[in-house]
Subunit: 140 residues, 2 copies
């Protein structure tokens, strides 16, 4: 087991899961704890953030489970919230920062969700189609 | 504090950090623990995976720190391994699965790194340029 910090919380009009597609259409807010506010310095330079959060309502997991509309597959081949490590990651659009409050769009997490980390989206790490050789040339 | 499971470990020729760009050029292997093998069912249907791992050598964190070649910024505006929650995420190419061993390319993590989770890359959650409205239409 590994322990991690909760650095903030999601505020959302969704108080319980209504389906990720619907939640991702909407705006929500991440409120960072006061003791971590300094870590937000210049975050507004980024258009997109990776949000790392906990599926806090998720109770246990199944290693193999059917998809809603498809073939059975393993939990590591699915984005199910019922995972051995109940960690979710979603890329969101950063709309506005006001102090410790980040207004975002695209998060599929309900109000009260604990946020573990925020990272700026970086194509070299996050884009599957990145050409790592080309990227390396660019940074020389 | 939140506790999460270690589901596997990285095997890599890199035994200590040599710079993420260099590491991402190379192949490495994720070895999933036997008790989680069933969770890999059909993972080979995916070309790209999100790897969630722990920066296990990272000791403490700074909320505000200069980048190597740039302006000072907060930890949540950087991909520094020295974070309040020392979680890394990187999108990698899945080259081959052999039982509990996944050969991948693109991971910027050294040998011995604890893996917390694997997820299939999904543009609707991971691609910043996704058009959530269009995606919703598709799934109707």
């Amino acid at each position: 087991m590994m322990e991690f910090e909760v650095v903030g919380t999601v505020e959302s009009k969704f108080k319980e899961p209504v389906g990720p597609d619907k939640m991702r259409q909407e705006e929500s807010t991440i409120v960072i704890k006061p003791e971590y506010e300094e870590g937000l310095y210049r975050i507004e330079d980024n258009d997109y953030l990776q949000v790392v959060f906990q599926f806090h309502l998720s109770d246990g997991y199944k290693l193999k489970a059917p998809r809603r509309h498809g073939k059975e597959r393993g939990v590591f081949a699915s984005r199910s919230p019922r995972r051995p490590s109940s960690i979710g990651i979603t890329c969101v659009e950063l709309l506005e920062r006001e102090g410790r409050r980040l207004k975002i769009r695209g998060l599929d997490a309900i109000g009260g969700t604990p946020v573990l980390d925020l990272k700026p989206y970086a194509s070299v790490m996050d884009d599957p189609k990145k050409d790592s050789t080309a990227k390396k040339e660019e940074t020389k």
